[in-house]
Amino acid sequence: MFTEELPKRADIVIIGCGVVGCAIARELSKFNLSVVAIEKEPDVGWGVTKGNVGMVHPFVPQFGKLKSKMVIEGNKKFDEVAYELDIPFHRFGLLIVALLFLQFLALIFAFFYLKLRGIKIKWLRRGRLRELEPLISRKAKAAIFVPSAGETDPVKLTIAYAENAVKNGVKIVLNTRVTGFEIENNEVKAVITDKGKIETRFVINAAGLYSDEIEKLVGISDRKMWHGKGVMLLFDPFIGDMYHHFIAPMPIRLDPRTKGGIIGLTVDGVPIWGPNLVEAKDKLDVGVSRDDIEMIIQKFKPLLRFFPDKWIMKYYAGVRPIDETSWDFVLGPTNIRGFINAAYILSPGLTASQVIAEKIVDILRSEGLQLVPKEDFYPYRKDIKSIRGLNYEELDKLIYENEMYGNIICACNQVTEAEIREAIRRGARTIDSIKFRTNACKGRCQGSRCLHKIIEIMADELGIDISKITVKGESSEIFVED
């Protein structure tokens, strides 16, 4: 599926295989072009994309920005994207709830404001709100219901974009880091990496958290990046039926920095709370502290009458790349000819990814790139077949055809040997890659009962020694040698 060999030249080089880079790769694969996407990590989607909530936002409050326009369009397009790429997507709907009188006043204001902006919303009185969410706080006075808010799996979406791009001819080069450029007369000539050089006329900077460093490599330094850390809390799926929508408290002051987080559910029915927003020490600061956890619980727990917050299953953090002055996406050409930014993609970059990709194609066209549609572009991609949701007859038949579907490896999430082997055939080379593709190790035991089996299957399928097996790429080996 993916490669580590860098081609000698390409029409376009995309730097970074996050959700944005991969969406662009797929969009460009609709045309007769040679496209190469370069990623420093051993898999796609491990940057900002990994530390994401997965919410397909209906809007962001700061209207007038690029991101506000793109998020609305992106939300509308999501059904089609999810259908073509066979990724999980549910429109749970969002409830913005007022508990205090002040919030209630703000809610009324917000209702008319959003209506004016043409967002599809409904006013819910207390009674109707309680019908929808029986465990909502008794203090809840009213809510705005936004039906279009949805949830997807950010890394699965990225993998799906990447797989479909590869199917349509894009080369995705992993474990390769961009370290410089060849520039002549203010024009891009080649991209230099730790695996050699690739000649090209066009470069897309989709390096997420590192898009500022890529800019510096071509000599652009007019922006400053602010690193905004966000922590997410996941709870045991056992309590996944305590609420059924995204729920957020009505903010009294519109903080321009963030939408303020939500309580929600992942596509696998796991309660997810967050994120918060704190300044990260640096790009690598993904540590979670007690303060983060308390901040999140204190903020969201009052929304519900009852929630057993002891059932924390996991927590993790992501860092948002934020252009300090605009707090907006940075899209478009630069004063270096051929160097195009899809950079500083903060939230809601996941929701907007498809729209960003289409915009980049438009920009390339106006920069003089010939775009001839490919006649045989194939827009569909199928996810790895899992046994979840099958009825017993179908399951029995599936096992008859492939007995590895009868060998359950991850008991928490019912992941079979067949799925793990298929994930490896599709390019998974680390334990985390298998986890993101199959959900193995993502359950309540966090791999403490199946890690040894996954190691064994990987070594067998790849024909490698177990000393080569890593959790998340080089330097994260499970076994050490003397």
Partner: protein, 314 residues
Amino acid sequence: MEEFETDALVIGAGSCGSYIGVKLRERGIRVSLVEMERDIGGLVRDLELYKIEISEIPKPLSPQDYIQYLRTRIMELGIPLHTGTTIIDLIHQQSLFTAIGVSKDGVKKFRSKRVIIATGGREINQFDLLIMGTRPAGIFTGLMALRLINKFKRKIGKKAAIYTNNDIGLEVALKLSDAGIDLVNIITNETSSHLSRELLDMIRERNVDVIEKTIIIEVHGLKRLESVTLRNIESGEEEKINVDTLAISMGFLPDINLISKIGVKIDYEMKSPVLTRYLESSIPNLFIVGLASKAYKDINKAINDSKRLLLSLM
């Protein structure tokens, strides 16, 4: 799709499930055992020094001898044993249970009047203990660390610390040390008086410090573990130790995968199913025994407690 019928279906043939299966059969009840692994024994399979102590067996047995004893009894009594079969669903209809199993031979349906869930526990992990920081490689639960060493005969790190409050953790420590891993510290949140003298002596012989009344509050490292921060629960003093491996052996929580699906009442505080004295759940004729029934530190206690079930079925 094969179908099977029995009077008591025991799900999970670990140290408790197999034992209960044998005891029920000895009392004349028709039982079947279902196990997801290829062999019986469950969590104790990887232990050697641990001693199984059950009142009717005169002397303590090693886990291997205990499993052998169970295996022999299952054979002698002719108890149907379905290994390599994972129950993914349990349906309760008109006082009859149907359990759906997945195996390489296809889907299996088991019908039974009574079901005993003995699916065991899962080890308490980094997140259950709210250990803060990052999520690097090199952090294992104790029995997983042991299994990796036993199965692959390789070292899982260079320098290790063990976080434990029980003897299983001490055995994990000794095995890691035997495998050539430099054992730096044993960290326990209690005092060492709860722990086996014998094992503690073996550990001290290897010049390993046991740090008492101390918890681990944070782990550091992005790819592989680099260090852990400890805090003394009395003085509040903090200390950072450099290790690339942490084995956490802090007891078990019930495996609620199956029971949460079928609507058994679960105690939110205890993270365990609500059970009667005789281990019957909120669904009549559905029993839960062993590590699946409540949070245990110790496996022996779980086996011995499971006998209460026999009183009700007499």
